[in-house]
């Protein structure tokens, strides 16, 4: 049974019809022991089938350890959304529910290579001299979450210093506990700094700079 129904399939097809450049969905799964690995894999394959520009590559987290390290994948299910180069856009856990919107957005943005940020934002990110890791915790039932995920991914696309993960909290409860997630979206920057809610770009930037300076 396909995961995407006919109607959604048609919409996705239409959304992906004007992709500018190729996109690789590099997916890591495992033979056993991963809650939604099978579905995530199926999702990636169904989407790749809807556009000539999108390809799915499926790897085994254990057997292809080196590849996982190469893409800095440390948990599964994982999807790296790769355009002309690796911008550091990752999804951990299945991007279902509201996060499906973030997922398609990532494909489109990575394909064009153009992030939509303010001029000040682009400038601030260009000045970064240290790596920044953004983790956005979400649940699939959270309508406020996609804006936070999309913003983080745009920052990753805009700057080679930034990588950004969506983390589906219900699939990684230990991380939710580790990062004290009691509400979503919660954006964790470089392990230490965090932002609650779908904060606007300037606020996230400020926190990002705080995180870099604090380090």
């Amino acid at each position: 049974m396909p995961l995407l129904n006919e109607e959604i399939t048609a919409q996705v097809k239409e959304q992906l019809s004007d992709l500018e450049g190729p996109v690789r969905l590099v997916m890591f799964t495992q033979e056993f022991e991963c809650q939604f690995c099978a579905e995530t894999r199926q999702l990636v394959e169904e989407i790749a089938a809807l556009s000539d520009h999108v390809t799915a590559e499926v790897y085994d987290f254990v057997a292809d350890q080196n590849r996982a390290a190469e893409w800095s994948i440390d948990k599964i299910p994982a999807i790296a959304v790769i355009g002309a180069q690796d911008d550091g856009v990752r999804f951990y856990g299945i991007p279902s529910g509201y996060e499906f919107t973030s997922f398609l957005h990532a494909i489109k943005t990575v394909s064009s290579g153009r992030a939509e940020l303010s001029t000040e934002g682009v400038q601030a990110l260009a000045e970064l001299s240290e790596p920044v890791h953004i983790q956005v915790f979400v649940t699939p039932t959270c309508p406020y979450c996609p804006p936070a995920v999309m913003l983080a991914h745009q920052m990753a696309i805009s700057s080679p210093m930034v990588r950004a993960d969506m983390i589906e909290a219900t699939e990684f409860p230990h991380l939710a506990i580790k990062y004290e997630v009691m509400g979503v979206p919660r954006t964790v920057i470089n392990e230490t700094t965090h932002v609650e809610g779908a904060a606007p770009e300037p606020m996230v930037l400020e926190k990002l700079q705080e995180a870099v300076q604090g380090a």
Binding site: I94, S118, C145, A169, A176, E180, M182, G183, V184, E196
Partner: protein
């Protein structure tokens, strides 16, 4: 078991941002909910050059609503996100540009009107304000500190984090009781804190709540403070009849005490009523000619999708009329005097 929502936020118009600089739109719609999107459908169809700034909740409140059961034309009901996604496709079909930006400042004193977001400054001859409503806060100590970390206004988002924990739900209306019932899937105990001695919620929800062993109600009770050090440890409450104070130990607090119109941005420029709603007439006009209001932002009474859509349509038709009377070339010179004299 999985669903895949394509919410309106998907639409990106990256190339067009460049085009917008220095351009004066006919119309800017503030808000991407039912009212704003319907206004956009009507305006776009009438070939009014329209920009929609949809803010952080594209689709508006229905994007956060399970099922909308009473929107005509959908006899089986429809998922909220799907309903507003359709609103948006329709607006796009008529050529409206939709951006996900949050408006942070407006200037309705000079023309063309100016609208600022974090990303850009936009100008237009006419504006429709459709920023809707957002959940009301309690306004007690501790609430802000813990918002997003133990205090929440979205049970469907955050319920998961309260598995086997105790939570409080503040409020007594439909939303409070529905969400309290939802939270029993996760939480070990749910305390509804309500300031009166009976619930306002629909009878069937009340019956379900009273029959649920995980739910208890603290009657005649108001929250005075959210307590906790690193995380929420409880709420300090007061009985409004006896004045007695008490601490209820909980790990999370969900607030459902109604909605407030989102009008802070417009204070001092648009007339607001004592509850903060924009004052508009039956043609959706505000006190500033050329600025119209539609949907929940000006509706303390009905607050329904179909009503929001209806007022959005009216506002757009009025904009068309306004633009016809004051075309671009004349607007600077004439409108501030001529139209204000006739309108007020």
């Amino acid at each position: 078991m999985f669903d895949f929502k394509l919410t309106p936020s998907l639409q990106e118009t990256q190339q067009e941002t460049e085009k917008t600089r220095g351009r004066v739109y006919d119309l800017i719609v503030l808000g991407g909910g039912p009212a704003g999107l319907t206004a956009a459908i009507y305006a776009g169809r009438a070939r009014v050059d329209t920009l929609v700034l949809a803010g952080s909740l594209p689709g508006g409140q229905p994007a956060n609503t399970d099922v909308v059961d009473n929107f005509p034309g959908f006899p089986e009901g429809l998922e909220g996100p799907e309903l507003v996604r359709r609103f948006q496709s329709q607006a796009e079909r008529f050529g409206c540009q939709i951006e996900l930006e949050e408006v942070v400042e407006v200037d309705f004193f000079s023309r063309p009107f100016t609208v600022r977001t974090h990303r850009a400054t936009y100008q237009a001859l006419a504006v429709i304000v459709a920023t809707g409503a957002s959940p009301r806060r309690l306004g007690v100590p501790g609430e802000d500190k813990f918002f997003g970390r133990g205090v929440s206004a979205c049970a469907t988002c955050d319920g998961f984090f309260y598995r086997d924990k105790r939570v409080a739900v503040v409020g007594g209306g439909d939303s409070a009781v529905i969400e309290a019932l939802f939270l029993t899937r996760f939480a070990r105990e749910v305390v509804i804190i309500h300031r009166r001695d009976e619930l306002r919620a629909t009878q069937i929800y009340q019956e379900q709540a009273f029959a649920n062993p995980k739910i208890r109600v603290a009657w005649d009770t108001v929250v005075e403070e959210v307590l906790g050090d690193q995380t929420v440890s409880g709420v300090r409450v007061r009985n409004v009849k006896t004045g007695e104070m008490e601490t209820i130990e909980v790990d999370g607090v969900f607030i459902y005490v109604g909605m407030d119109p989102k009008t802070e941005l417009f204070a001092g420029q648009l007339d607001l009523d004592e509850w903060g709603y924009i004052v508009s007439d039956h043609r959706q006009r505000t006190n500033v000619p050329g600025v119209f209001a539609a949907g929940d932002v000006q509706d303390p009474l009905y607050r329904q999708v179909v009503v929001a859509a209806g007022t959005g349509a009216v506002a757009a038709m009025e904009v068309e009329k306004f633009l016809g009377e004051y075309p671009k070339s004349r607007i600077d010179k004439d409108v501030s005097t001529a139209c204000c004299e006739t309108e007020l």
